[in-house]
């Protein structure tokens, strides 16, 4: 019922959004973060792994895309895919180290490796230190679509987001996804059933890293810059916040969370230093009152509401 009406409605809204007063750059930013949060959610929501270093994939890919497009002059689409590939390779390296541990140890290993990537980004010549890589050109996509116009680029970003979102949706609902959920619920049991748990975890980790990279690469094209902000640990924290606010382990949760946080950052910029305080308060309220996150609470409410009707 919800699916039949809700999804086409959301899609229609996404298609007309830039024409009804929403600022395209803001929408693109929100979509990039939504994709990033979805990729992160794939790991925490469906495998139960809390990564505290996802900024390294996001930021690493942002730098890779920016460098490829600006310095090497590769076409935009190759640049973005290249970013995702860099994310995947980093995910493979980091993942093969990190998945050997669970819980807080897993989080700490990913954080430590992310800090190493941050240090590399700070010191390496090609990243430009605090300056970042500025003025990344927006060259026509496939040599055809002029993305220097924000509206055109918005539809490109929307397409990238939808493709990735669909991939995540399919992954979760595939037999592979079922195994991941089994690992989340009871790892020992999954092992006893004969699943090679480490391989499944690694695959999920690489997928999540690659999609984070896709988000980072896209973002560097949207803003025409890649900077230390993307690779800083605060970014890893922000994506946790987005997922938590929206609802861990729900499909739409991270998207909602990302929109809420990005909207706050955007429209509260006027109130200056208070924006961080407001963000903190909202976070506390959500953790205390809506522990399942916005979408999680709505889903739970819907389930309570719908169940008696079925009798």
């Amino acid at each position: 019922m919800i699916r039949k009406i809700g999804i086409p409605l959301l899609l229609a809204l996404a298609l007309i959004a830039p024409w009804v007063g929403f600022y395209p750059v803001f929408l693109m930013k929100a979509l990039c973060f939504a994709l990033f949060a979805c990729a992160f959610n794939l790991l925490i929501g469906y495998v139960g792994l809390l990564s505290f270093g996802h900024a390294m994939f996001f930021g690493g890919a942002a730098y890779a895309t920016a460098h490829m497009v600006k310095v090497w002059g590769v076409p935009t689409e190759i640049g973005i895919l290249g970013g995702a590939a860099v994310g995947a390779v980093m995910g493979l390296i980091v993942g093969s180290v990190a998945i050997r541990r669970q819980g807080i140890y897993f989080a700490m290993v990913t954080l430590a490796l992310a800090q190493m990537v941050f240090f590399f980004a700070l010191q390496a010549k090609f990243t430009g230190g605090e300056d970042g890589i500025q003025a990344v050109p927006r060259r026509p996509l496939f040599g055809l679509i002029d993305i220097s116009s924000d509206i055109n680029l918005y539809y490109v970003v929307l397409a990238i987001f939808l493709a990735a979102f669909l991939l995540i949706y399919r992954t979760i609902h595939s037999p592979f996804g079922q195994v991941l959920k089994a690992i989340r619920e009871n790892e020992a049991r999954a092992i006893s059933l004969g699943y090679k748990v480490d391989q499944y975890k690694l695959m999920a980790f690489v997928l999540s890293a690659a999609l984070s990279g896709l988000a980072g690469g896209t973002k560097s094209i949207v803003f025409q810059l890649a900077s230390l902000t993307d690779v800083q640990w605060q970014m890893s924290g922000e994506v946790v916040l987005m997922t938590l606010v929206g609802g861990i382990g729900t499909i739409f949760g991270p998207v909602v969370g990302a929109f809420v946080i990005v909207t706050m950052q955007n429209y509260l910029a006027q109130i200056g230093e208070w924006v961080l305080v407001v963000q903190g308060i909202i976070f506390v309220v959500i953790v205390l009152a809506f522990r399942r996150g916005i979408v999680g609470e709505i889903a739970a409410y819907w389930a309570r509401f719908a169940r008696p009707a079925r009798h």
Partner: protein
């Protein structure tokens, strides 16, 4: 005949006026002050810059060409992507005509690119990198208050002459720090001094011990602090704790603002030599303006960045009035033609590369017993004339400068 002529002239004048009035886009002149409202540059820029811009608008009568002047502000949190996001939104949606202040060179470089592409005026007061009038210059971007070249030449040149001929740099590891280190190094070498080494620390460092130990071990006579804001404060304090100054080495604050001296206290900061392009206690005019500013800013003295924002906004508004339009290209041209004259600037010229030529002052922090009242912190050692304070235009890498 006479009547017709008068009528025609009258009509033409009315048309001309009508046109001029219609040329203010969106019926409002909106200036966005974009800076750090919550982080380490919040004291140097922050609300003070917003206040300065508002004061300039008020002194202008609140309107230009019959249209209201509006000041808005945003917090870029020292992040280039946050700054770029706000700036794009201001220019695309919120009808902002000019962006002012923008400390942190990395953000300023991003905004310079955006204002150049979107043809809006950029009044830089808070950022320091001399690249902004170098290879990243823009026809509508103006570097108003100071730059790394000025800081480097002022402090660097003067200290070498006073015997501090070997330097070690403690550099903030981002665009601004690098530029400051490079330019000061050049000034030191030009004055026949020697740079013996440097160490780079991340922005917003709280523990400088390992960096200071390297500086101490270098045995350089001068330790140049190529950083700013809270980083400078922390490094000066911790240098005192390590006994670096007591051990015979001297600290040169390459970018020390009066607010930094205030939070350090004269006891810690005394003797420090700094270069600024404005000090509130220079003459009657600066005192009068600053008194007004302090009354509205909780008694805190204006920094040179605050004064620069006022000066830039005032000049921008005057140029709009003179040009009869707020179209960025025409206003920028007018701004270059008119000399800058206000309480802090005497006959300042704006060069082709966007550099505002103004005098700078070599200042020394007073001893506690020399200070007669609140904010009485500096004595003026010398005035550096504009032509010596800034990079000669022949050396500019700016593509707008036509090389003959």
């Amino acid at each position: 005949m006479k009547k017709t002529l008068a009528l025609a002239t009258g009509l033409a004048a009315a048309l001309g006026l009508g046109q001029a009035a219609a040329q203010v886009s969106d019926d409002v002149v909106k200036i966005g002050v974009l800076n750090d409202q919550s982080g380490l540059y919040a004291d140097i820029t922050g609300q003070g810059s917003v206040l300065a811009a508002r004061m300039a608008a008020e002194d202008f009568g609140g309107s230009v060409l019959g249209k209201k002047i509006e000041i808005v502000f945003g917090d870029h949190q020292n992040k280039p992507d946050v700054g770029s996001n706000i700036a794009r939104q201001w220019l695309d949606v919120d009808k902002v005509d000019a962006i002012a202040d923008v400390p942190t060179s990395s953000v300023a470089l991003a905004i310079q690119e955006i204002t150049k592409t979107k043809n809006r005026v950029f009044l830089i007061s808070g950022a320091a990198s001399s690249d902004l009038t170098g290879k990243a210059c823009s026809p509508t971007g103006f570097h108003w208050t100071y730059d790394t070249y000025m800081l480097a030449n002022g402090t660097g040149g003067a200290l070498v002459k006073a015997g501090g001929d070997s330097w070690f740099f403690l550099t903030s590891d981002y665009a601004f720090g690098h530029a400051l280190e490079r330019d000061t190094g050049a000034a030191v070498t030009a004055a026949k001094g020697k740079v013996v080494g440097q160490v780079r620390h991340p922005l917003n460092t709280s523990d400088f011990s390992s960096f200071l130990l390297q500086a101490q071990a270098s045995k350089a006579k001068i330790i140049g602090l190529a950083n700013a804001g809270g980083d400078t404060i922390n490094s000066i304090k911790q240098a005192a704790e390590f006994g670096i100054v007591a051990g015979g080495q001297r600290l040169a604050g390459l970018l020390v603002f009066i607010t930094d001296v205030h939070s350090l206290g004269l006891k810690t900061a005394q003797g420090l030599v700094v270069t600024e392009s404005f000090y509130w206690d220079l003459n009657d005019e600066t005192r009068a303006w600053s008194k007004n500013f302090m009354a509205k800013h909780g008694g805190k003295a204006p920094t040179m960045v605050h004064a620069g924002v006022y000066s830039a906004v005032k000049h921008y508004l005057t140029a709009i009035k003179e040009a009869g339009t707020d179209e960025a290209g025409k206003v920028a041209e007018k701004m270059r033609q008119m000399p800058v004259n206000d309480f802090m600037t005497k006959n300042g010229q704006i060069r082709q590369d966007g550099r505002v030529m103004r005098d700078a002052y070599l200042l020394q922090v007073k001893k506690p017993e020399e200070s007669k009242g609140p904010w009485d912190y500096y004595k003026v050692l010398s005035t550096i004339p504009a032509k010596d304070a800034f990079r000669p235009i022949e050396q500019s890498e700016c593509p707008l400068v036509k090389k003959s």
